[in-house]
Symmetry: C2
């Protein structure tokens, strides 16, 4: 299906407005009609893009996870050294706009809905797409960690459980992080970076030290 | 307010039935009337205990977090050595019945709803109680970790961020763990125990080694 350029823009505007509302006011409290009003489209036009608030939520989740996956692939494919790649990915995932942070909050707050089958076929399709993305991201992390273990850069462990632990730790940040909170994003990123490497069993700046030795 | 013994039993039965349905079928998919049918009470009697499905969810969450808090306090108050206490608590939180596991799943899947104000005063009261419990548990962990840092048992760090990381890592298990899954509960507990200690900066069995040295 080809979309008119205008179509794509309006769709992006709806997704952005919905992310802001879901992230700020909560998904449950957001009225779908308010999202339509934010971007100035009527219910019929809105339906052209999304069948329902839930359909839109699944698309937001799928795009959020998809973006993580693309950034992860771009970094790991360009960085041959596993430790350098690991450190780069861990910092990159805190290089976020305010809109990205809201989107992460939506993803984490509503992830319970990913497990629930939908009777509407458009909703169910979007739900399955988001779940598939989540599995792909977890698989990409597990494959990367398994490779780093084989290369001797990371201590041997269950790569699949470790990738789940790492993603669980990262996701948990967006449950409590608020831009106006006690801890700024750079401090949270530093903390997360150090604790994730410790959890994996790697000393911070191990890649830098390896380069110095080499 | 004093409750008749029968009252307490029926209330517990409703909570148990709701936990099973929410955990198995998802909160959103569960019909409140089905919970009533499970325990054989009519809508009027049900309303005596819980105003709504959401009210019941908040009470389940409050009890789940309260149980964690009581177990945590019991262990840490009886175990003077911080490392022994830490290791005991990390194993204890995987000593769970199938019902406990379902309850953890509900707690984690629906925690986004804890952030959303309710217009009903009974619902809002239950929501605030659950949130207060979550803050108490986090505070108990942070106080414990800060004490362990002062005692030199655990490397210095931000105790509050560390308690959030630890709870975030633990909670993430219940998003994917299923009793019939690839990894059994003892294997998951062992993995979690090792990775949490590594994240905190403590070698596994450090308490045992300290005892051997002493």
């Amino acid at each position: 299906m080809t979309r008119e350029p205008h179509d794509g823009t309006k769709r992006s505007e709806i997704l952005a407005a919905a992310t802001r509302r879901f992230g700020r006011d909560g998904y449950e409290h957001t009225k779908w009609a308010d999202v339509a009003a934010d971007v100035g489209v009527g219910p019929t036009a809105l339906y052209h893009y999304f069948e329902s608030k839930q359909h839109c939520l699944y698309v937001i989740m799928e795009e959020a996870i998809g973006d993580f996956q693309r950034r992860f692939s771009a970094i790991t494919s360009q960085t041959p050294d596993p430790l350098e790649a690991l450190e780069a990915v861990l910092y990159d995932c805190f290089d976020l706009t305010e809109q990205d942070i809201l989107r992460n909050r939506v993803l984490v707050s509503e992830q319970g809905l990913l497990a629930v089958h939908r009777s509407s076929s458009r909703e169910e399709e979007a739900r399955r797409a988001a779940r598939a993305r989540a599995r792909q991201l977890e698989f990409a992390w597990a494959s990367f960690l398994a490779g780093a273990m084989r290369a001797g850069s990371v201590p041997e462990n269950d790569a699949r459980l470790l990738s789940r632990a790492l993603l669980g730790l990262y996701n948990s940040v967006w449950q409590w992080y608020r831009p106006d909170g006690l801890h700024g994003l750079p401090a949270v990123a530093d903390f997360f970076y150090g604790r994730t490497l410790a959890m994996i069993g790697v000393a911070p700046d191990a890649a830098k030290r390896t380069r110095m030795v080499a």
